[in-house]
C-alpha cells in the first residue's frame, strides 16, 4: 500500500520543498514519509534523553540559591534563549508523534495523514506560543492551578491508554512505556511552557524555592521526573537493542540503561525532596 502523504491543501508547497532536500528526499522516495518521521522521532527522543540527564545533573550542582542565581544568569544571553526555544521543537514533535503512534497502535486510528496534519499544525501553534511567551516575558499563572489542570489531563490520557492495554498480553515494560508516553505527552510540553511564562519562574532561586515548598508541586515534579526517566530509559534500550544480535549483549545493555536511569532518578528525587 502506498503510504505517500497526499499532496493537497496547505502542506503541498511544504512537501515539495522537503522533497528537494538531498537525504530526506531519498528516504521519502524509497521508504515513505512515515519512515522519515520515525527517524525524526528517534533523534528527538535521543536529544530529549540527553537533555533530561543534563538537566537533572546541572540542577543538582546548583543547589544553593546564590550558585543557582549566579549560573542561571547565562540563560539570559540571546543564543541560550534561542536554544531554549529551539528545544520546544523536539519536545512537541516527540510528544505529538508519540500521541499519533498510540492512537494508531493502541486505539486503531488509521487515518494517519489527517493525524500528521494535526500534529504539524498543533506543533507550530505550540512552538509559536512558547516563542511569544519568551518574547513577552511577563506572563504568570498560579502554579497549583496550572499543574492541577495539567496533572488531571495527563492522568486522563495515561488512564485511557492503561485501560486499553492493561489486560493485553504485552510485556509490562512495553505497556508502561505507552502509558508513561501518554502521561508525558501533556506534562513535558506543559513543563516547558510553564518555565517560560516569565524569566523569574525558572531563573530566580527564591521563586523556585517558594514554588517547591508546595507538596503538590513536589509530587508533580517527582512523578514527572520518574515517568520521563523510565520512558527515556526504555526508549533508549528499545532502539539500541535493535543493533545487538547477542542475547548477552542485550542483557548487558538493560543493566547499563537501568543503572544510569536509577542513578539519575536518585539524584532527581533527592533534589526535588530537599529543595
Amino acid at each position: 500500500m502506498n503510504t505517500n502523504m497526499a499532496k493537497a491543501g496547505a502542506e503541498s508547497p511544504v512537501l515539495s520543498l522537503l522533497e528537494r532536500l538531498p537525504v530526506l528526499s531519498f528516504y521519502a522516495r524509497t521508504r515513505g514519509w512515515h519512515y522519515v518521521i520515525s527517524w525524526c522521532n528517534r533523534i528527538a527522543g535521543l536529544l530529549l534523553v540527553i537533555w533530561l540527564w543534563l538537566h537533572i545533573y546541572f540542577l543538582a550542582f546548583l543547589y544553593t540559591p546564590s550558585t543557582y542565581d549566579g549560573n542561571m544568569k547565562i540563560f539570559r544571553y540571546f543564543i541560550l534563549v534561542f536554544l531554549q526555544w529551539i528545544l520546544s521543537l523536539p519536545v512537541i514533535f516527540h510528544a505529538f508523534n508519540g500521541g499519533r503512534l498510540i492512537l494508531y497502535e493502541v486505539f486503531g486510528k488509521r487515518n494517519d495523514e489527517t493525524m500528521v496534519r494535526w500534529m504539524i499544525g498543533l506543533s507550530v501553534i505550540y512552538i509559536g506560543l512558547v516563542g511569544l511567551f519568551m518574547i513577552m516575558g511577563n506572563q504568570s499563572a498560579s502554579p497549583f492551578f496550572f499543574w492541577l489542570l495539567m496533572l488531571l489531563t495527563a492522568l486522563i490520557c495515561g488512564y485511557g491508554v492503561a485501560r486499553k492495554l492493561w489486560h493485553s498480553e504485552h510485556s509490562i515494560f512495553w505497556k508502561l512505556q505507552r502509558i508513561s508516553g501518554a502521561f508525558l505527552l501533556v506534562l513535558v510540553p506543559a513543563h516547558l511552557l510553564f518555565m517560560h511564562l516569565n524569566p523569574s519562574v525558572a531563573m530566580e532561586a527564591s521563586v523556585v524555592i517558594e514554588r517547591m515548598q508546595n507538596w503538590f508541586i513536589k509530587a508533580v515534579d517527582l512523578i514527572l521526573a520518574v515517568a520521563a526517566l523510565y520512558h527515556g530509559g526504555y526508549g533508549l534500550f528499545s532502539v539500541l537493542s535493535e543493533y545487538l544480535s547477542s542475547r548477552i549483549l542485550r542483557k548487558g545493555l538493560v543493566c547499563v540503561v537501568a543503572f544510569i536511569t536509577i542513578i539519575f532518578a536518585w539524584i532527581g528525587i533527592r533534589l526535588i525532596l530537599t529543595v
Binding site: R29, G32, I37, E105, G108, E242
Partner: protein, 242 residues
C-alpha cells in the same frame, strides 16, 4: 513517441572467490515495456554472461527477483522500463542486492539465511484443528475473510525487511511477523498460545516502531504496518479475531 530508452544500469557486483565488490556500468538500448529481469537477461546474452541474478516465476508470485533499484527494494520482474523512468525521473539506475542476508554473488542473496527468521515464526499450521463434521467447513467470520485473504498475499520477497527501521538483528522482520499473524487468523490453527508468545517475544512486535516503510514498499500492496498494529491492539488474542 520514442519507444526505446537508452538506460545506464550501475549494478553492484560481488565475487565471492576474491571477496571483491565493485559497481559495473551497462548501457542498454531497450524497449519501454521490457521488465528489469529482461534487462538482466539481455546483459547476460549480449554484454556480460557473468552477471548473476535470481528469478523464478517472473510474474511477481515468488519474490526471488527482489533487488534494490535506486535505493528502493522491488521485484525486478514487475518493474517495466517506462514505469521505472517515470517513477525515478532518470535513465540511470543503481541496482543492488537486497540487504537482508549475505550476498552469494552479484544480485543473489542467501535466501536460506533470510528464511531462518521466517522459519522462527513457523509459517505453517503448528497444531491443526480436528476436521469439521461432515457438511461443515472450517469457519471464518465474513468480516475477517477479506483481511485474511489480504494477509495471505505475502510472498516473502523480503522487500519489507530490507527497509524496516528496526534493522535486521533484533527483529524477526515484518514478513515473518505476518507469517505468524496469518496463522493466528486461520481457523485451522490451534496453537494460539505458542503463536502469541512468538508475537509478544523480545524479537516480536515490540521491535516494530510503525515507520510503515514495509507498507510503502510491499510489491503486493499489503498494509503490513496495519496488521502488526492489529497485533499490538491485541486483536488476535481471542478466537473471535479470526
Amino acid at each position: 513517441m520514442d519507444s526505446n530508452y537508452k538506460l545506464t544500469l550501475k549494478i553492484k557486483r560481488y565475487n565471492p572467490d576474491t571477496k571483491e565488490s565493485w559497481v559495473q556500468d551497462y548501457v542498454l538500448e531497450v524497449g519501454r515495456i521490457l521488465r528489469f529481469t529482461d534487462l538482466f537477461r539481455k546483459i547476460n546474452n549480449e554484454l556480460d554472461a557473468s552477471l548473476a541474478w535470481n528469478s523464478s516465476c517472473e510474474h511477481a508470485q515468488c519474490g526471488t527477483c527482489a533487488v534494490k533499484v535506486n535505493g528502493k527494494p522491488l521485484l525486478a520482474c514487475e518493474l517495466l522500463v517506462e514505469n521505472a523512468v517515470n517513477q525515478f525521473h532518470t535513465t540511470i539506475f543503481h541496482i543492488e542486492p537486497i540487504t537482508i542476508a549475505p550476498v552469494v554473488r552479484d544480485l543473489i542473496v542467501d535466501l536460506e539465511k533470510a528464511y531462518e527468521r521466517v522459519n522462527e515464526a513457523k509459517p505453517y499450521i503448528i497444531e491443526p484443528a480436528k476436521n469439521p463434521s461432515q457438511g461443515n467447513d472450517y469457519q471464518i467470520f465474513p468480516r475477517n475473510l477479506e483481511r485474511y485473504v489480504d494477509a495471505t498475499r505475502c510472498i516473502n520477497c523480503f522487500c519489507c525487511a530490507t527497509v524496516c527501521i528496526s534493522s535486521h538483528k533484533g527483529f524477526l522482520g515484518p514478513n515473518a511477523v505476518m507469517a505468524s499473524i496469518v496463522r493466528l487468523m486461520d481457523p485451522r490453527e490451534t496453537a494460539r498460545k505458542e503463536r502469541l508468545d512468538t508475537l509478544y517475544s523480545e524479537k516480536g512486535i515490540y521491535r516494530c516502531h510503525t515507520s510503515k516503510a514495509c507498507s510503502f514498499v510491499c510489491p503486493k500492496e499489503i498494509d503490513v504496518a496495519h496488521f502488526i498494529a492489529l497485533a499490538k491492539e491485541g486483536r488476535f488474542k481471542s478466537k473471535d479475531s479470526r
